[in-house]
Amino acid sequence: MIQALVLKVITKLMVGFIILFALYVQFHGDYSPGGGFQAGVIFAAAFILYGMVMGLQNVERVLPPWLTHKLMALGVIIYTLVGIYSFFVGYNFLDYGALSPAHPEHGQHYGILLVEFGVGVTVAGVVISIYYAFVNRSKTSKEDE
């Protein structure tokens, strides 16, 4: 935990806006540059900043490590379910038209949104898990000395 009051207050002020910006990038994938991957990384960056400034125990209580592991799998499950759903309705794998047979255009829109959401959830989970793993590794290697 960093003792600098300035960094603490600035982090507490900005972290909400960073999370909101991540979600904005997530849901505007088809209007502006960005998409699932960038959104996941920004989302993770918000938590990494919080963890660096406010201490590891706090961030591990906000977003527990078991939850990030589940998030990694959840994203892939969302991605696959969208594909398999169109498979079962009688379209090709990941054919977004299946999501709204009357308007294939709308279906593509929803499909991209869902698949991007899955990608974003997985990336956020993976990056935060890497941060936890890295930090805990450096802790144990210090104990070995």
């Binding site: 600098a4 009051l5 300035v6 603490k8 207050v9 600035i10 507490k12 002020l13 972290v15 909400g16 806006f17 999370i19 909101l20 910006f21 979600l23 904005y24 849901f27 505007h28 209007y31 919080y50 406010m54 201490g55 706090n58 209580r61 906000v62």
Partner: protein, 159 residues
């Protein structure tokens, strides 16, 4: 309750100004995003037990902002002169100044304002004492900092 309302309004305004796509679906997702963000921020506040005290008068803050811009322009000229004159004409000094603000946010605004005006940099903020490093130290610089301190104290709304 009041802080919850303020954060909701601020975050929704941020989303609407950034987004530019005013369709039902995207707006609904925006509302969900704002609620999710508020959930995370409240959770963080509850877990680390440190909430920021927002006792700031918004209109006075705007007035202070424009005054600060003027100060930044003035001190920029000074530092550009110092850069052109070179290494031998500067008078570096590190000194302490006391802060008179009540809330943490006021102190941080004061420290950040000092850093934003080129020529003075806040180094360490501890127990109402602020360590400042000045590029060209003279009597006027302490006077200017004291005036800035007074103005930042002024924007805190009295309880």
């Amino acid at each position: 309750m009041r802080s919850l309302f303020i954060s909701f309004v601020l975050l929704s305004l941020t989303w609407l100004l950034l987004s530019g796509v005013y369709k039902g679906l995207i707006m609904g997702l925006g509302l969900l995003s704002v609620l999710l963000t508020i959930y995370f921020v409240r959770r963080m506040d509850k877990i680390d037990g440190y909430t920021i005290d927002f006792s700031i008068n918004i209109f006075k803050l705007l007035g202070y902002f424009f005054w600060l811009l003027m100060e930044i322009a003035k001190s920029n000229i000074e530092v550009v002169k110092a850069i052109i004159k070179g290494d031998n004409h500067i008078n570096k000094k590190m000194f302490f100044i006391s802060t008179s603000q009540r809330s943490d946010l006021g102190k941080v605004i004061f420290a950040n304002s000092i850093t934003l005006t080129p020529g003075t940099i806040s180094i360490n903020l501890e127990n109402n004492q602020l360590c400042v490093h000045a590029l060209n130290f003279n009597e006027a610089s302490t006077k200017g900092l004291e005036e800035m301190d007074r103005r930042v104290k002024n924007i805190e709304s009295g309880s």
